[in-house]
């Protein structure tokens, strides 16, 4: 394991960069646990200060130190995005692989449910939940709801790959090697869909964070809970860009871009690790 890791770092500059970027963001988000100030408080600092030695990321028009504000926001949003992505990945992998491999009525039922979830528009449902739950609509509840709607696209994608794998000889071979259905799915088929899983993991994270941003911008979330969405909501409602408080928007954008480029690079290099054949391909540089 260690050797794998070492080699990934040694031979794969993408992996290294990705690791560094993601590492920075994890540390940054983790810092919020040690935040000296409650990020929900406003007017605790002089507003509209550009980045400086005292305020690394400046302060916003609400008198908040953006460093700690963003640290909390990234902690919340990334946790949120990862929760959604992980939960919906679990569902979509299970459903996709099972539907593709088992087939028959299992497939039909799963795809039927899948179609319903794809077809039903999520926005009114989220808003309804918001209306009904109001204060109790915390980000975990929202993550659960989004997870319920985030799986069907990818489940179908995974299913279509799994359908092809089902008829491959090695699947039958695995069955005769006594592997249980679960093992066949998890160990034989899952690696095949891993690149898709990684890709959709990120897409899903982006989708859920984007959804959170949209809802926040429209005011359908608890806007006093620092998240990327609410940071932008407030920046927008203070016309930050127009007024010249650019750091309020530019810094979170840079951070989120860093995060996802980091994840992208990691995913790319992980794909290579999973598929020994593509490793060889890159060696042919």
């Amino acid at each position: 394991m260690f050797a794998v890791f070492r080699d990934l770092i040694r031979y794969n500059i993408e992996f290294t960069i990705g690791l560094i970027l993601v590492g920075i963001m994890v540390i940054f988000a983790g810092l919020s646990f040690f935040s000296p100030i409650d990020p929900s408080l406003i007017y605790m600092a002089i507003p509209d200060q550009p980045p400086s030695a005292q305020y690394w990321f400046g302060t916003n028009s609400r008198g908040q130190d953006l460093f700690w504000q963003l640290s909390a926001a990234f902690k919340n949003s990334l946790t949120f995005g990862i929760t959604v992505a992980v939960l919906s990945r679990i569902i979509s992998i299970t459903v996709g692989l099972a539907a593709g491999y088992i087939g028959g009525w299992v497939d039909r039922v799963l795809m039927f449910v899948n179609d319903i979830f794809v077809a039903v528009p999520i926005f009114p449902i989220l808003v309804l939940f918001y209306f009904v739950l109001r204060n109790n609509m915390d980000s975990f509840t929202m993550a659960l709801i989004l997870a319920c709607f985030g799986w069907p696209f990818d489940a179908r994608l995974i299913r279509s790959v799994a359908l092809g794998l089902k008829h491959r000889e090695f699947t039958r071979h695995a069955v005769f090697a006594g592997m249980s259905t679960r093992r066949v799915l998890m160990e034989e088929h899952l690696p095949y869909v891993m690149p898709i899983v990684f890709a959709t993991f990120m897409n899903n994270m982006l989708w859920s964070i984007g959804m959170e941003v949209t809802l926040a911008v429209l005011g359908f979330t608890n806007i006093n809970n620092p998240t990327i969405g609410t940071v932008l909501y407030w920046a927008n409602s203070h016309s930050a860009m127009v007024v010249g408080v650019w750091w309020w928007i530019v810094i979170p954008v840079i951070l989120i871009v860093m995060t996802f480029i980091g994840l992208f690079l990691l995913a790319m290099s992980m794909n290579e690790y999973i598929d020994p054949r593509s490793r060889l391909r890159r060696m042919g540089a």
């Binding site: 039909r108 795809m111 039927f112 179609d115 319903i116 794809v118 077809a119 039903v120 528009p121 999520i122 926005f123 009114p124 449902i125 808003v127 309804l128 209306f131 009904v132 069907p152 696209f153 179908r156 994608l157 279509s160 790959v161 095949y192 690149p195 898709i196 990684f198 890709a199 959709t200 990120m202 897409n203 982006l206 964070i209 984007g210 941003v213 949209t214 911008v217 429209l218 990327i228 969405g229 932008l232 927008n236 860009m241 928007i249 954008v253 989120i256 871009v257 995060t259 996802f260 480029i261 992208f264 995913a267 794909n271 598929d275 054949r277 593509s278 391909r281 890159r282 042919g284 540089a285």
Partner: protein
């Protein structure tokens, strides 16, 4: 052929069931929503004028009667389906008594036009670049392109749209930044109108394309990275088949089936997807209609949008499923 019809028939039943359950679910959702459309109307009315409490009370009664929102749920549900089967989605509650479908149909061409084209463009460019990047894994240009799109994708859409607005609306004001067409043309199938519509859709479309690329790109790249190791690709390479052909017809063609399924789902889902675009660019469409309707408790319109959307998504998937044997000759319709 008979087998195929049998398959299509079964699939059609599934389509109908999906629509039925989806629409019913949305009915339940709207029924449970605590927002009362009558109060919303009253709120607007009383904010503007100085009405006495008695006057407000009697208006409330009149409106509840007109909207039919006081009936028990099963009754409303029954009414809803009987009306729907006659093709009637009821009167909008925020634009009473205009049929909800009329509101939907007004926004639809804009939403469809903008989103279909930008989705297709995004699909084409994203997949093309993703395919190329997956094939030429060590190519600098595609690597850079990947990083740029991957860098663009996480930027919240709102910001991207906003920056485009500033650049093309203010710093270099060459394109209109609001509306579907300009005020001195009349909607008609004439050149000035069409040009005006195109001109107005450029910025919104650009913003949608920019943020949408990444998803397709990375998806295609992942699919392709599985396919490039197949023997037939290696063999074609060894035979000196033109790179374009290999990338296009060997690599991407084989990765296309799942992407087309995804496209169907996305295209079907365009209806609810443009709230922010419509806000930033003041563009007509269904996204803001849905937000307004939800906020106003206009359940007829919410249901009309949902019914259209559910039908569209389900149908799109249905069609792709039916076309599957065409897309992939190996598929057997057991």
């Amino acid at each position: 052929m008979r087998g195929y019809l049998w398959f299509a028939g079964k699939r059609l039943l599934q389509l109908l069931a999906v629509i039925f359950f989806g629409v019913s679910a949305m009915f339940l959702v709207t029924y449970l929503s605590p927002i009362d459309p009558v109060e919303q109307v009253l709120g607007r009315l009383s904010a503007r004028s100085n009405l006495s409490p008695e006057a407000i009370a009697s208006t409330r009664i009149a409106l509840t009667e007109m909207f039919g929102t006081g009936q028990p749920m099963l009754q409303q549900y029954w009414n809803f389906w009987t009306r729907l089967l006659r093709g009637d989605l009821g009167a909008s509650l925020m634009a009473f008594p205009t049929p909800a479908m009329e509101l939907v149909m007004r926004g639809m061409p804009w939403t469809l036009g903008l989103l279909l084209t930008s989705t297709l463009i995004t699909f084409l460019i994203g997949n093309l670049m993703g395919g190329l990047a997956g094939y030429f894994q060590n190519n600098r240009f595609f690597k850079a392109f990947g990083i740029v799109t991957m860098g663009l994708q996480p930027i919240p859409y709102y910001i991207v749209a906003f920056i485009i607005l500033i650049i093309f609306g203010f710093l270099w004001p060459v394109l209109p930044i609001s509306g579907g067409f300009s005020m001195d043309v009349r909607p008609s199938w004439t050149l000035p109108f069409i040009l005006s519509v195109l001109q107005h859709s450029l910025l919104p479309a650009l913003s949608l394309v920019l943020v949408g690329l990444g998803g397709w790109f990375i998806g295609m790249r992942a699919l392709v990275s599985n396919i490039v190791t197949e023997d037939y690709v290696t063999y074609a390479e060894l035979a000196g088949v033109k790179r374009e052909t290999i990338v296009g017809s060997y690599v991407m063609r084989n990765a296309l089936v799942p992407q087309i399924t995804a496209l169907a789902m996305v295209i079907g889902g365009v209806f609810s997807g443009t709230i922010i675009t419509e806000q930033v660019f003041n563009y007509p469409g269904m996204g803001s209609l849905l937000v307004d309707a939800v906020n106003a408790g206009d359940y007829s319109t919410v249901l009309a949008v949902c019914t259209v959307s559910i039908t569209a998504v389900a149908t799109a998937i249905f069609i792709v499923d039916l076309l599957h044997p065409l897309l992939d000759p190996r598929v057997r319709t057991e």
